[in-house]
Symmetry: C2
Subunit: 229 residues, 2 copies
Amino acid sequence: MNVAVDFGGAIHLQARSPYPAPVAKRDVPQSRRLAAGEALFFEGDDANFVYEVLDGVLRTSKVLCDGRRLVVSFNYPGQLVGFSHDTVQHATCEAIGKAKVAVIKRSALSSIIRDRPEFAEQLLRFTAESLNSMQEHFVVLGRKCASEKIASFLLALAEREAESDGGAVAFRLPMTRSDIADFLGLTIETVSRNLTALKSEGVIDLPQTNLVRVRNIERLRDKTLQEHS
Amino acid sequence: MNVAVDFGGAIHLQARSPYPAPVAKRDVPQSRRLAAGEALFFEGDDANFVYEVLDGVLRTSKVLCDGRRLVVSFNYPGQLVGFSHDTVQHATCEAIGKAKVAVIKRSALSSIIRDRPEFAEQLLRFTAESLNSMQEHFVVLGRKCASEKIASFLLALAEREAESDGGAVAFRLPMTRSDIADFLGLTIETVSRNLTALKSEGVIDLPQTNLVRVRNIERLRDKTLQEHS
DNA sequence: CGACGGGTTGAAGTAAATCAATAGGGGTGG
DNA sequence: CCACCCCTATTGATTTACTTCAACCCGTCG
């Protein structure tokens, strides 16, 4: 997303987009540090807080009683997590590595919306963008084959790292193969196989297991939707 | 969702939930009637309007260039469609049968949010509920097998029709098998096979192709998550 | 009546899962 | 510093759930 919002000092969705820069922070934002793997909240917890990711990457997921897991989203700095329509959290949110979040009392939301309509608007824009990107992910989950899923995933990460150095983009994969598999509705074996396939085709490099260098982003883009005819 | 909102007469998300009843309608809401199959908007259209479904059922979908389609959601009365974070629509929305929608100018949203913070709050609640239900659908798409997908789909429809007459619930399927398939990431054949399987097991009845009677909702619920061990 | 679209049912094919073994890599302790 | 372990990742062989292909049914409509 990347809306810039000042929220009484507590919230400040990061600004890359053409939105007003944050104004004065009246209060010290209440923030919380998380260790690698630490949970921010679990599915079923009281949804008393909303969080903004400040640093690190979080993982929002749902687990079925038989152990099957689906990763709903990876949450990067500037994104909001824990925003529920009712009183409980509907997914679990954990830090992948060390992370830092801003903590916003849910009970404070109403008054803030009332006092700062521009905040309400930006919050809505944020949720709308989430909605739209989730719709795109539906297509990936429901209608793309394994190789297209992997390519789509890598492309999305590559585009998030706008720092393309002459066509080539390199980025870290903070998440494990298991996380990727559970995000794309695949198994770790299938993820692994398709990554090595992309590597041997010369589309990407894998200098380390969690380091990707896209050698040819256009070929990667082609892979997100191969007319296999 | 089912928030009750008065929106200068134009918007009025239907109320089943504990929200204030609509107040006076100052303007005649601008509404639009749709014929069966008619499109409300296409992916790529300018997102100048947001719509509230008043009557009938709509289908929001995305199509890939090779024809693969994914139905993002079925939109029942009280729901909002066409809410985009930017200037274009990211999915296509069509009426399944005859339908009627309220039309809201997108440009009017800001001022309305400013004037009516309670509307902003309810709109946020609506988007948050969409977000949460989409997360649940991720699990269905990404981690459930065909029979579980079908059971989950039918259960969701059954629970929407709260009019249970002594354990048994009956409802119409306004959408085709093809729509269901594209919603669940399956083929029409698989949908058909699994429906007949549920029928022969005595879980449901199919008096007509688009009429479902749930004979045993608890067994249906079990089917949404079978530990196939 | 015959054509058409949507739905069901059957047989065969295949992409991805599962099962299984091996390889790498980072941290700990000797 | 090296040896070992544990966990993650890779690679291979086999199985399977779902798709694909194909035939047929049935209600509707010109």
